[in-house]
């Protein structure tokens, strides 16, 4: 088995456990490459990739762009704020215009859930979902689980708690799928208003006491409070949220074991996680960022190898 089962990476839901392991093994090799003094390989030199960001992003966009450049692909960037989308062009029209400039792959972030799936039915290029609304963010889940595997040796059998705004989080959903496919036990923790009603049907445990959740877990993934997605008040004040669901040093020290702390960024310091925890040895936040480039290189490489030259 040395090939992905899919042509697009639209979500973790659509790929298999074997796919995830193949991506991890390939990422191991790319991690070695990006730690060399010359970090570039020529694998994708005949591939052109369009990065379409219909929603703001710094980290993911930079990480994808670096991954593409380190594989020697040609890259074009597009952001909705400075484009014809504002003039009323539809998604399919925008993308088809870009594709007629002979683009082989599309990396897309879009505020609407399912945008990637919709696009994959209408165009020929290989699509990578870089986040679609509150649906999925597959490369983030891959780099999170890859970082757990790197830190703890394996993902299977580990207890992972995802803390915070589960309702608005594509990171949470993709992580739940990835962790379950790899055999980990998953719980979510947060204010009841930010836990989706159907969450237990995914086979995920629910815990509303952070202390208990942390005592149970090996890894805590602290999500950002997404103020920009909150149309109504889900909790009384930020301060109250921090008191109940914020991770601080005192809480961490009260556990009788050492847990791994993760955060997908950007961090609201002092809200979901305090500075001393974010900068502590238990936090692998910056390892996650480094692994992000290796994971995205692996995904791009494996998907590019499935593009049929005869279709070009």
């Amino acid at each position: 088995m040395s090939e992905l089962s899919v042509k697009h990476l639209l979500g973790i839901k659509y790929i298999t456990e074997a796919d995830i392991h193949l991506i991890f093994e390939t990422a191991d090799h790319f991690k070695e490459v990006i730690n060399r003094s010359i970090k570039k390989v020529p694998s994708l030199r005949d591939i052109t990739i369009a990065n379409l960001f219909f929603e703001n992003s710094t980290r993911t966009r930079l990480s994808f762009e670096l991954a593409e450049k380190r594989l020697s692909a040609d890259v074009v960037n597009f952001s909705a704020s400075s484009s014809s989308v504002k003039k009323g062009e539809t998604l399919v029209d925008t993308v088809n215009n870009i594709l007629s400039m002979k683009v082989d792959m599309v990396v897309m972030r879009h505020p609407n859930p399912g945008a990637g799936v919709f696009l994959s039915k209408h165009i020929n290029a290989s699509i990578i979902n870089a986040g679609d609304g509150a649906h999925e963010h597959p490369t983030q889940a891959l780099l999170d689980t890859y970082s757990i595997r790197e830190k703890l040796g394996d993902v299977a059998g580990k207890n992972v708690v995802i803390v915070g705004d589960i309702l608005h989080s594509r990171v949470a959903l993709s992580n739940i799928f990835a962790l379950q496919k790899l055999g980990a036990n998953v719980k979510v923790c947060g204010p009841k208003t930010l836990l989706p009603k159907y969450i237990e049907s995914l086979g995920v445990g629910v815990e509303t006491n952070l202390q208990k959740a942390l005592q149970w877990c090996d890894v805590a993934n602290m999500l950002r409070v997404q103020n920009e997605r909150m149309d109504i008040s889900y909790f009384p004040t930020t301060r109250e949220y921090t008191q109940q669901f914020g991770l601080n040093k005192q809480l961490l020290d009260s556990l009788d074991k050492e847990i791994v702390v993760m955060h997908p960024g950007p961090i609201n310091r002092g809200v979901e996680i305090t500075s001393d925890v974010a900068d502590s040895k238990q936090a692998i936040i910056l390892n996650q960022v480094e692994n992000g480039v290796a994971i995205r290189m692996a995904v791009l490489y494996l998907l590019a190898s499935k593009i049929d030259r005869n279709e070009d």
């Binding site: 090939e3 090799h29 070695e32 003094s37 570039k40 390989v41 694998s43 594989l71 190898s305 030259r309």
Partner: protein
């Protein structure tokens, strides 16, 4: 499918000793020389040559690296299946060094072309030589020739030359396989 023995264990041993001696003639104490085995199958030969040089010829501190060329190949997307990568382990800079590439079979020369590009990531060597156990004559696609060869073989294109090593395949031998 039929197969024929090209070299048996004794002949493999003789050839290995000869290659080791030829390397010593050119590189003396190996003080400025590094060996690089090309993944995946060149590393068995490279390890053998290294241990021969160390045990039988008392040369110390030989530097050996493994180089994977998967991401540098020119047949990406031209093959039906994705090529699986192996580990690259080069724990030294090759800047200013004399590099010896070691691979088991030299056929079209495309792997060596990729290796020449790949090694640039680790610096600019002062020179690069090529040691190959089997040199398949008349089948080159590129102007690449070995500096040291174990045995020259005339094989036609649908034949395959397989080099077996004790540590991986259970015996030392070279086979010509006819499909």
């Amino acid at each position: 499918m039929s197969q024929k023995v090209l070299l048996n264990a004794t002949e493999v041993k003789i050839a290995l000793h000869r290659l080791a001696c030829q390397l010593i003639e050119n590189h003396d104490t190996f003080s400025n020389t590094v060996l690089i085995g090309i993944q995946p199958r060149g590393v068995f030969l490279a390890e053998r040559i290294k241990s021969l040089l160390e045990t039988d010829y008392k040369i110390k501190n030989i530097q050996l690296g493994y180089l994977d060329i998967t991401f540098y190949r020119d047949d990406f997307r031209r093959n039906d299946k994705t090529i699986e990568a192996s580990k690259t382990k080069v724990n030294f800079l090759v800047e200013g060094k004399r590099v010896v590439f070691i691979d088991d079979v030299l056929y079209t020369g495309r792997s060596i072309r990729a290796a020449l590009t790949a090694v640039q990531s680790f610096g600019r060597p002062s020179e690069i030589e090529l040691l190959t156990f089997i040199d398949r004559r008349f089948s080159r696609h590129l102007p690449i020739q070995p500096d040291y060869r174990g045995r020259q073989v005339d094989a036609i294109n649908n034949e395959k030359v397989k080099v077996c090593w004790q540590e991986n395949d259970g015996e030392d031998a070279v086979y010509l396989i006819n499909n």
